[in-house]
Symmetry: C2
Subunit: 341 residues, 2 copies
């Protein structure tokens, strides 16, 4: 059970390519930068889709989140891989400026997932899940990372998420993801974790499951009452909803002409979101909305390639252009613009 | 087969209440007004939901569309009912300023539908469908209605939709709805109808079916190539997409705290949309976007009551307030506002 479900979150893959030698976030810098820590899975996946089979491509929630965030802020990654993990994977992260000193390499096999997508990419089937060294992952935050202000807890055992927080000094913002496996399997531990988290990102179905109510507004309020002061509900091709206090923001998804591989879209979304907040180094309502759009921008690029291949080729100019496309996509005349206010 | 599927579109219901005696659109008037004609079903429904059973409430696609549009523009309704149709139903339409001279009353029974919703309102089951006099509906457009500039072809046989257009003199804008029953059952007639329509409103699943492609951007392009120059894809609680040329607009849905009855939401959306266009009497891109939001506003009120009970109680001030809420819901800083343009 765990193996099959966990794959949904942990899986992904990529044909590693060399990125820019300089850290990409430098190109985007226009304000004081903070930094971000991400803890989660680093994996290899074999993906079968309408284009064929993609063998042992780069994957893992921390991988996607770190790469997406790397365009905005310095990123430190904490995870574990086996001796079989290719140097090219590590080098790819380094090329994008990701600090991999927290990526342990231990005896054993790297987390591996194999799955098959339906031709329209709306469903997928797990064919193989081998947790390998990830089964006994105990995140150790290097001393030099313990003061990182922005922290992303990838979707792992909520006990481990809490253990990570115990190793961090006074973070400014903690964002966490979770899934149905933990909601049903470790409710008490999840409840403890939620009390220590500022922002929960969760998909729509799991938001309803965790809140125990179908209406999405009521579900969001129930989640806010569990601890986080901000809740972001991911709705896939329908965008995302951001809840903070009484404010609700509905972010559109970008209608992509060619979706090649949705693996890691949610992780890229969360990584882009938190990376942008770290870059701006503030978490007010307006910045949160821009962060959600930047998360959506990174997810929209991610799905345009197999594994991380498109994500690592993105340029800062493309990010700005797509942000503008989101603005055009969502704009209609406000009462103030019409003059009816 | 027809009976069961048609019910999805034709069904609805409502406990008639008295509206304002004056036509509500007068209160909203701020610009020269045009007018709108709607052709479709007028029905009675019995609805079972989490609140209980609602016997023989007012329904029908033309009913919902006319009432939603009545807040913006003078509306003329063309449809058919049997001798059993209650005077209160006709009076309710009149009270909202709807011109019912085109509503035929003939020997026989009014279209009747009975259905049961799941507790979370995400699915429904048809229990009974009696087309009655609607089975032989042959829309006759009264002479005084033939120059109406804005025309809505409710979801009826595409041959009848074409027959309606043959009776209209040089309409400014024709909007049509359709459904899976006609897509699979009358593809040639549907193709002919689409060539004479300016704006197609269609739900997401049926857009994919009609276009024969899953990707929503490709589906919209395929629909545009069939005739209409504007396509609006309804996505229920996820909002709507508007396609016109290369422009795409993603409209959010309003997150309602209490959804009581979604019957007629799509018809209220289309009615509000076309009513707003008629009021503005222009169909440029910016006006279309505002029209989609007004359609969403009317649908968001509709679902807050059983049948039309909430829709007929809406005030112009509430419409303006909810439009402003949609603007807050969707707003994020554009590149121009941020100063990165």
């Amino acid at each position: 059970m765990f193996f099959v479900r966990a794959a949904r979150v942990l899986a992904a893959g990529g044909s590693p390519r060399r990125g820019l030698v300089c850290a990409p976030f430098v190109l985007m810098r226009s304000e004081p930068m903070s930094s971000m820590l991400v803890v989660g899975s680093v994996a290899q996946d074999t993906i079968h889709n309408h284009l064929g089979t993609h063998e042992r491509v780069l994957g893992g929630s921390a991988t996607f989140a770190a790469l997406a965030a790397s365009y905005f802020t310095p990123v430190k990654l904490v995870g574990v891989v086996g001796r079989d993990f290719p140097d090219s994977g590590v080098q790819l992260l380094r090329d994008k400026g990701v600090d991999v000193r927290g990526l342990e390499v231990v005896e054993g096999k790297t987390f591996f997932w194999e799955g098959r997508y339906s031709d329209d990419l709306t469903s997928r089937e797990s064919l193989k899940t081998e947790l390998g060294v990830f089964a006994s992952f105990q995140p150790k935050i290097p001393a030099e990372h313990r003061k990182t202000p922005y922290v992303m807890l990838g979707n792992i055992d909520p006990e481990l998420q809490v253990a990570v927080l115990d190793q961090i000094d006074a973070p400014k913002l903690v964002i966490a993801d979770t899934m149905n496996f933990w909601i049903s399997g470790k409710p008490l531990e999840l409840a403890k974790m939620l009390k220590r988290v500022d922002l929960l990102v969760i998909n729509e179905e799991e938001a309803r499951q965790l809140a125990g109510v179908h209406n999405i507004l009521k579900a969001a309020r129930a989640l806010l009452a569990m601890g986080p002061r901000i809740v972001v509900i991911k709705r896939g091709e329908y965008g995302a909803l951001l809840f903070e206090g009484d404010s609700v923001f509905s972010a559109p998804a970008y209608p992509c002409e060619e979706v090649l591989d949705p693996t890691g879209a949610g992780d890229s979304f969360a990584g882009g979101l938190l990376g942008f907040l770290a870059k701006e180094d503030r978490v007010d309502g307006a910045t949160l909305r821009r962060a959600v759009i930047h998360g959506s921008v990174m997810a929209s690029f991610l799905v345009e390639g197999i594994s991380v291949e498109r994500l690592v080729r993105v340029t800062p100019a493309e990010i700005a252009t797509r942000y503008a496309a989101f603005a055009r996509l969502a704009h209609f005349a406000t009462p103030a613009e019409i003059g009816t206010l």
